[in-house]
Amino acid sequence: MATFQWKEMNGPQGAPVSSVITHLKHKTKDTYANNADYPVPKPAAGYNYGFGKTTFLDSVECTENFSNFKLYGTGYPSANPPKIAWTGNKLFIGDEVSDTYDEVEGTESETGIELATYHSEVTAVTDFLTTYTSGNKKSIGLTGGAASKTGTGRFTKNIFWQHRVDNTSGNGLLNEASIIGVYDLA
């Protein structure tokens, strides 16, 4: 059988805590909490950023051979009142995945530091929901560079995310975007 869960890593360098998540909630604070606290404020000009996110896929149980893990999105969602559309908002993914955890940086309630700036192994980011589609999935490496995994525990390398807001954004709670994962079992 195969059962997986998403985990987010938070906390200080050298002693991060991994927590099971059901939503990737972007905030101006290093927390996985799924609530409306610490929203990313709309800037007067330029950009504000959510604090970077570090996630990975964790196996609760996998008796089969797991391989070929990829991610893609289904585009930026339109409004679903009272939730607003993603106008002026972007979701970025780090181009690199890594076994390394770097503590996120930023100013609480104001803005995060850009992912490619604070993370030692992320050199660039890509607009995830525009670039990665069902026809162009992003490959995610497995821990230790393995081609396949079985058993329990962390299966994938760390995946890095960041939310960016500009001054064309509306005010309110964004309608949820979808991130689709794909894997093979043998």
Partner: protein, 161 residues
């Protein structure tokens, strides 16, 4: 291993009798003894499609289940199945693996990115998509015959002499 989300399952005929996904993984050694491999629907409500291939001597059979899930909040949204054959035997990328174990290989067919995967050289890949669509990739010496079996579409993949 049949999962709650599965729509189809494989079963294989060996010299010792039939084995199936209910009791075995395709990464188990017994899968290498399968001489006739079938993919069949689990329920009448699933796409009524059957894949079948008899393994010619010197070929390796492959099977993969591909799971699509919405990561938040972690719902399975679809599953695809791949059945394939390729001439020869395949050693995993990790040195010291079992000979004749193809399951460490990322096999081409599920992605249009063949340079990273075991390509179709002398064989085929047949994919039943989550929406019932069928994709077939083959070398010139493989083809398929479509017929009906009990009201189901039966795709028999065959090597052309």
């Amino acid at each position: 291993m049949i999962h709650d989300y599965d729509t189809h399952y494989w079963l294989g005929k060996t010299a010792q009798g039939w084995v199936s996904m209910a009791d075995w993984k395709s990464s188990d050694q017994i899968f290498q003894d399968v001489e006739l491999l079938r993919l069949e629907p689990l329920y009448d409500t699933n796409y009524q499609t059957i894949f079948e291939v008899a393994r010619p001597a010197g070929y390796t059979l492959f099977f993969r289940g591909r799971v699509f899930f919405d990561t938040y909040p972690n719902n399975i949204i679809g599953v695809a199945y791949l059945v394939g054959a390729e001439a020869g035997s395949w050693t995993p990328w990790e040195a010291g693996g079992f000979p004749m174990d193809p399951d460490a290989w990322l096999i081409w067919g599920l992605f249009a990115d063949p340079q990273d995967y075991l390509p179709v050289q002398d064989g085929f890949r047949a994919i039943l998509g989550p929406d019932g669509s069928i994709d077939f990739y083959n070398s010139d010496n493989w083809s398929y015959k479509l017929s009906s079996e009990g009201g189901k579409d039966l795709y028999k993949f065959v090597r052309i002499a």
